[in-house]
Subunit: 217 residues, 2 copies
DNA sequence: AAACAAACAGTCAATCCTGTTTGTATATGC
DNA sequence: GCATATACAAACAGGATTGACTGTTTGTTT
């Protein structure tokens, strides 16, 4: 009468609990912030025993590294899918990138990622394990962004890097405001200000190039 | 033969230890981040006994509230002194404001302030005691900035608020990068990008007003 | 100078968190 | 089918942190 116990392979079992733990960790980081996220809490939220958790992720830093990786992968997936869906003018394309960035940074994934990032400042063990991952992500992102800029006709690496660093820092700052529960409308208006300002700058830079408006990457 | 024990009034004694504790807390927050700052550590760094600390600041949140207040006061002092020292064109004046903001956000005071701010997300007790203080500071700042903008001829409250929120968020984001030990030159270039971008926007907005270039507040 | 109040010192209890360890169940390979 | 490896469960030990508590010293007031 009872449903079959649903036989699972070892890999499936591992995958399931790992997914549950990562999802629970993201949720907890999003809702409470890194400092308030204990491994015990994550295990409880995930509905996984503490033993099972420690088997999959031997330390808190291991779990967080996986969270950082997962959220980053979903981030770049979002960028890719958006950029592949439409081929607009270079300016619109770059602004769309900014919009996606804003969406992602405000999402649980983005907040969780940034929480882990900030936490490396206080937790040397976390830093040791996670920083290499974050640095790799950052380099990838810089590279990809530069290719987009180059395709738009702005093939200037320092400019590309500075624009990216500045935009990302601003998005992180704004996302933090949102996470801190600041007035949504106010934060949204600030983002629109950023969008307007960066848009003008991009437009200005594009005007100095000989490239056509529409680009295909 | 020994120097006189240097008689101090009660108020002087209190003031001294409070100052020491606040200074040690700022230093610790700057160097290690909120999560790694225990009250014990602060007391040690300050060269103050644990009992003395608890007498002056009954809880960690009390100490942090005082730190937030002190750093904020020094911040606005820096803004005031800079603005009073020179009366430039409206554009230069606003950009100077940004420069001071960047200086202050990167300083131990600024980093400490932002650490406390972020920590309220994870620590409800800290939030309860510190958030009111932070909100008061934010309102003061918005008000002051609006008066400056109005004096420059941009008497538009939503625009003023959005610009301020955006700029401050960006500065916080950039200061965090610096605190995380990211490449200094890279972060500095990103700030210059912010400066350039905001400068263009301000210039653009000023061009649409009938105000003179030089303002006196 | 005596009574009082404030500042200071150091210890303690309670809590929480992390990672280890010991033991059990389930899947996989021979 | 059985040996082995993997996944899971739960209790435990060690360490750290916070705020309370007790007692002492120093300043103030009358």
């Amino acid at each position: 009468m009872t449903a079959p116990p649903a036989r699972l392979t070892q890999a499936q079992r591992s995958g399931r609990t790992r997914e549950r733990l990562v999802a629970a960790a993201i949720d907890a980081l999003y809702r409470y912030g890194y400092a308030a996220v204990s491994t015990t809490l994550v295990a409880e939220l995930a509905g996984v025993s503490r033993g099972a958790m420690l088997h999959q992720f031997s330390t808190k830093a291991h779990l967080m590294a996986e969270v950082a990786e997962t959220t980053h992968q979903r981030n770049i997936a979002a960028y890719r899918s958006t950029l592949s869906r439409n081929s607009l003018t270079a300016e619109a394309r770059l602004l769309t990138l900014l919009d996606v960035g804003w969406m992602r940074h405000g999402s649980p994934d983005g907040v969780a990622h940034d929480e882990i990032r900030s936490a490396t400042r206080s937790d040397p063990e976390l830093a040791e394990r996670v920083m290499p991952v974050l640095l790799r992500h950052a380099e990838e992102t810089q590279e990809t962004f530069f290719r987009l800029m180059a395709a738009a006709g702005i093939a200037d690496r320092p400019v590309s890097d500075a624009l990216l660093t500045m935009a990302v820092a601003a998005l992180r700052g704004l996302a933090l405001e949102k996470a801190l529960g600041q007035d949504e409308a106010q934060v949204e208006a600030a983002f629109q200000q950023l969008r307007r300002t960066l848009g003008a700058d991009i437009r200005d830079r594009l005007a100095r190039t000989e490239e056509p408006g529409v680009i295909y990457v």
